[in-house]
């Protein structure tokens, strides 16, 4: 059974059709690339899956359930986590606290216990600190635990976003341009990291990325969209050799030149 299924999904913003009649499905354990030129509607697809936007038409099934009626909070709790193209960390909190925050459901103390600072609260807080350290170690940020999140360089902020998403214990992880702003070495390390977390946490992943080397390294399957519409959905070999993809990215004339 497929983990995620989009059926004829359309999303309009006023007159703009950002996503048009898009269908694809994803099996458990798959990692797929979602690519397309700027403004193709990739981020909008993530916003639809996570419930930030409601679809104009179509349905989105997660584990067979229609999630488009659900609010974002219950979608996250159902097992879908994401990172953001324009980094959205809790800037004034420390790196560690960013992770501790999203682990809040593991802290089973109540408000009265907090006000009185009972031993249970102290113990649970210590537990959360240890748990968040585990996630920081996975992405290699443990030595920055007490830095303020916004004091990190961009590359590390993106890693912190990945750690924060992991801490939500998702089944499906949506990564929106995790390599943006990284140099080739850093992207290479990122590839290893994504591979590692996928195995370690049994994740299904959709990766939006403009760095083609990262996509080709990680994704056996690639979904290409253009102007909100599905262009191709197939193996990376098929996508690599498809001239429509080249056209979509470079425009008609350049594709002809490159083809010759």
């Amino acid at each position: 059974m497929s983990l995620l299924e989009l059926k004829n999904v359309t999303k309009c913003f006023g007159g703009i059709v950002a996503v048009k009649d898009l269908s694809f499905s994803l099996n458990d354990g798959e990692i797929a690339g979602l690519i397309g030129p700027n403004g193709a509607g990739k981020t909008t697809v993530f916003n639809l899956i996570t419930g930030v936007y409601k679809v104009t038409e179509g349905i989105i099934l997660f584990e067979g359930k229609d999630i488009n009626k659900c609010d974002p909070v219950s979608i996250v709790r159902g097992g879908i986590a994401r990172t953001f193209q324009n980094i959205r960390l809790f800037n004034k909190l420390s790196v560690m606290e960013n992770i501790k925050t999203v682990l809040f459901r593991e802290a089973n103390y109540n408000f009265a216990q907090v006000l009185m600072k009972t031993p249970k609260v102290v113990k649970m807080e210590r537990h959360l600190t240890e748990r968040s350290m585990e996630y920081l170690k996975v992405v290699g940020l443990e030595q920055y635990a007490n830095f303020r999140a916004d004091s990190l360089p961009y590359g590390l902020q993106r890693k912190l976003e990945i750690a924060r998403a992991l801490a939500l214990k998702p089944k499906l992880l949506l990564l929106d341009e995790p390599a943006a702003g990284m140099n080739p070495e850093e992207s290479l390390a990122l590839v290893d990291l994504i591979r590692y977390i996928k195995e370690q946490y049994n994740l299904t992943i959709i990766l939006i990325e403009h760095h083609m080397d990262v996509v080709m390294e990680l994704c056996p399957r690639i979904i290409v969209i253009n102007f909100g519409e599905l262009l191709i959905d197939g193996s990376k070999e098929k996508v690599q050799s498809d001239e429509r993809v080249l056209k979509a990215y470079l425009g008609e004339e350049y594709a002809n030149v490159a083809g010759n």
Binding site: V52, V76, R88, L89, K92, V95, T101, L115, V121, S151
Partner: protein, 294 residues
């Protein structure tokens, strides 16, 4: 001596209201322009109970807190629903603050604009000291718990907070009810300190003073607003001799803070022994978020 005790008592009472508001405004990132109304509700509830019904002081204070909390819940329910827009609430509180005052001026049990004279003097300096220490301590516990982190997360980025499974409405509601309860307690103490209350004491000037203290002290700090409200009350008292210059001095302080410390006296930090040590180790102080701890 009596006079100094009086000033310190008022500072202690207002610290309770300010610390409560800092949870809502400083840590959760929502503005209220009518918080004096919660003090008024607490003050009148507690005063009416001790004055007309001889209810024990402590129980009357608790009832004042509860009444404030309840009213804030009713106010918050429709206004905090607009998930990503906190500004509805600020506008609503402006009207709410005035409405409460008008109601108090027209009810018979509150004796209208004349107010309630002859309330027993239960709020002594030790009482104020005990309550303000307890409230500051509990608020600190709140901020350093999952509830506090969730509030800060909502302030920092409501979308990211929601994508982390945090229910924004519940977080904002909890902060509002908590700050209203603190306001109610401060009001009850205030009534039994002055022995007299009237609606005109709880105008938007008082609301503005509380909000200014939080903003000037630092959005995301407890010690900052405590320092700020102490100054706001003490400085005009010290300068009492030059009565006509009080408001000018008050304004000047605010302007200077806005120019030289736009994120408030303490910014996102807390005043602590650790932060004094950090003064000698500037780099660590700038990079480490450890300063947030008290």
């Amino acid at each position: 001596m009596e006079y100094i005790y009086g000033v310190i008592s008022v500072i202690g009472i207002e610290i309770i209201a300010t610390v409560g508001l800092s949870v809502f405004t400083g840590f959760t990132g929502l503005f209220s322009l009518g918080h004096a109304a919660f003090m008024a509700i607490g003050a009148y509830t507690a005063a009416i109970l001790t004055y007309f019904y001889n209810v024990p002081f402590i129980l009357a204070l608790l009832a004042g807190m509860l009444m404030s909390a309840l009213v804030s819940f009713v106010i918050g329910f429709p206004t905090l629903r607009a998930k990503l827009r906190g500004d509805y609430f600020a506008i609503a509180t402006l009207g709410f603050g005035e409405a409460i005052r008008v109601i108090l001026e027209n009810l018979s049990i509150t004796q209208g604009a004349r107010g309630l004279p002859g309330i027993s003097h239960f709020t002594t300096l030790p009482v104020v000291a005990i309550f303000s220490v307890i409230v500051v301590w509990m608020t600190r516990n709140f901020i350093l718990s999952k509830f506090g982190r969730n509030a800060i997360a909502v302030r920092e980025d409501a979308v990211a907070a929601e994508m982390a499974g945090i229910d924004i409405f519940r977080v904002r509601m909890l902060s509002l009810v908590y700050s209203a309860a603190c306001g109610g307690l401060a009001g009850g103490l205030f009534a039994h300190y002055l022995n007299f209350i009237q609606p005109a004491m709880f105008t938007s000037i008082l609301s503005t003073q509380l909000t200014s203290a939080v903003v000037a002290g630092g959005m995301g700090s407890l010690t900052g607003p405590i320092i700020a409200i102490s100054f706001f009350i003490a400085v005009p008292e010290v300068l009492r001799v030059a009565n006509m210059w009080r408001l000018v001095a008050y304004g000047l302080i605010l302007v200077l803070i806005m120019i030289y410390r736009p994120s408030g006296i303490m910014g996102y930090h807390e005043l602590s022994f650790a932060s004094f040590k950090n003064l000698f180790n500037r780099k660590a102080a700038n990079q480490s978020a450890g300063g947030r701890r008290m």
